[in-house]
Symmetry: none
Subunit: 413 residues, 2 copies
Amino acid sequence: MLRGAHIVLVEDDEIMGASLLQRMQLEGAEVIWHKQAQRALGAIRTPRSPIDAVICDIRLPDGTGEELYNTLCQTSAPPPFLFITGHGGIDQAVRLIKAGAADYVTKPFEIAVFLERLAMLLSQRPKGGMPPLLGVSPAAQRVDELALKAAKTDRPVLIVGGPGTGKELVARRIHQASDQRAAAFVTVNLAREADPESALFGSGGAWDQVGDGVLFLNALSRLPEAAHLALLDAMEGGFGGRIIASCGQEMAEIIASNDARADFFYRLNMVEIPIPPLGQRTEDAVWLMQQLYPEMNAARNRPLSGVSSLCIESVRAHDWPGGGRELRARLQRGVENASGDLLQPLDIFPETLIQPGRGQTLAEARDAAEKARIIDALAQTDGKISKAAEMLKVSRTTLWDKMQKLGIEVKSR
Amino acid sequence: MLRGAHIVLVEDDEIMGASLLQRMQLEGAEVIWHKQAQRALGAIRTPRSPIDAVICDIRLPDGTGEELYNTLCQTSAPPPFLFITGHGGIDQAVRLIKAGAADYVTKPFEIAVFLERLAMLLSQRPKGGMPPLLGVSPAAQRVDELALKAAKTDRPVLIVGGPGTGKELVARRIHQASDQRAAAFVTVNLAREADPESALFGSGGAWDQVGDGVLFLNALSRLPEAAHLALLDAMEGGFGGRIIASCGQEMAEIIASNDARADFFYRLNMVEIPIPPLGQRTEDAVWLMQQLYPEMNAARNRPLSGVSSLCIESVRAHDWPGGGRELRARLQRGVENASGDLLQPLDIFPETLIQPGRGQTLAEARDAAEKARIIDALAQTDGKISKAAEMLKVSRTTLWDKMQKLGIEVKSR
DNA sequence: AGTGGGTGTTCGGAATTCTGAACATCCATA
DNA sequence: TATGGATGTTCAGAATTCCGAACACCCACT
């Protein structure tokens, strides 16, 4: 689905153009079709509405797509270009991609494949309308729905999710979407307060500030048992606002082991919003990176030219135990310290450099051991290969072979 | 002219390879030619000298150039890759360029054109004139780059690396390269302090001495949790200097298991400098030996005439669990006690004479290494054979086979 | 009782490694 | 200069290792 996407199609062939136009419109995109490079140039330079992508043929009656792209690059940062061509050369493809084109497809192509690549490209653009809160995955969308539903009531909400899953984000969203959005939003991070009780109920504490607003209690499980009753009492006593609390998965265990606390938690858990960990929502991790990247990149002296596809794969594959916080921190570091022109996996995961033994395959371990042993034997035989072979109980030729493979040389010095 | 450029050529075709090799050597380049992906992988990971470019065929007897490139990207920042292939597709070219490959050329090509593109690629490489800090490997160069970059800010730095990797060296380099080089550099080795907290904040402690200088905290993971808050507070309170901390790999586990510490960690980890272990930077081990050797040799009554090539190989093959510290100690002992006129492997690794290595057959050495690696892998996967097999890159049945043969059992615990 | 995921075991063919034979070289030395 | 012993190289067949498919089995979960 390309609903709402603004696309410019530059294609002189009537049949091809019409077919693409129809197909993309069917998918819900708004498409403007130009048949000449000059016209397209103007349309892209001064668009009626922001352009999300350009589909561009190379051969055009009054020039080439490549010229069009280059011209645009001179004066502005063009929207993502997806080139399609029937007479493409590898050189041209390489040149264009290196120049920053988003993709390059040769005709004839499967329309389904084409649409998929287009969709992939568009998913990187921030969407207009209501921006997703946590991501684009079904799970994230569902969290969003739950938050909006919760906003319509004023019952207490419990947000459950691992570190860095955006619990506070959801809490704020609930507040913003509610009728009380004008009222205060007071956060108390119980994990960070030395004395949670006074932070809540002390004079000038959270309870004094919140009024009819929202009191957001982060890390609820850290609230000492002694404060439970005080909190429940305060809620009963003509409290006009609402409580939104959050915690990790540890709740389940606490509840199971402690009846008294269970009761308390159920009181706050009238509405529960579970947020799956980021590692299980790989699409969201990628999406989040693409949200954060442009701004971070812009802050560089010499901006990077992009994010390598391998890098995206590595982000997809990572577990993100630290959730969005980890992703943000890693990305920040990576973008700042990137060594090349493209962001690479190593920039984001520098620690892969230092994991020893890990990842060493059996063959590698074997080779290393053999190499060490061979060198050893050679040392004992003063470099005599035949003797060493005998000592190692292999034929001379085998030893010779291995020395070649492992890169062992015996020269006088 | 490619004078002085170090190039790795990966090409299985004899004729093509020989021709390219000859041509590039004529132009003055130093070229290393590999015909198998596996060997090339090793050579690029741990080169004899810094590699300026890799010329890589796609089709290889034991894999594809694309796989080679992807594998490299996982664990290191590869040198520029120029792919050459006879059976190239546009899709492949697009994919590779998006993944960060430098160029892509299809065979047959004009050798002149090829050389031109190669030269273009090489001309982009900046020549560093600074003496290396940790070594000549790409990884060491990268550490150096990161250190210099870190010197330009005053944000906290975290240096991560195993024993003897030169963490303090890097910290001092950062200080020296910064604008504050005149200020103090105060080291606190938390592993050695009985009472870390008072060593830091006690009267006359490190915090009193540091002023606007650098406070270097070695073994950060030893800092008791209670001191975290104090440190963060101290950093906030008008601290004009900067913190550089170091730790081993154990930090990752601590973070994963403890949300509160994660926060603290991210505060200190604004810039992360990972130092790979010396055993994975074989060229640096050799380089370091060559740095240290002359001086040690000069201290002898009757100086040695040199270092045997086998000795260099043995240094390359050892995995240096103790890092540079171990190397220095061994070399010192070896040079002092050398029996012959050349430094031999036995001088540096005397224990090979008495240890099981003696008389061990190649097959035995191999089996021993396999056994150790398998046990290690099983430990990491909590005894899951399938997972371990995957990690070791062998089939499950093969692993099972080997376990039988080597007498490894997984007890239920 | 059913189901799914992992383990223990077997087997045949594919892939590889190893080996001995053969031969050209090189080099110190008789 | 002849000679013996070592190295560098190729080769084809033997030996082995490796893999995937298949199947029984166990056990935790439902």
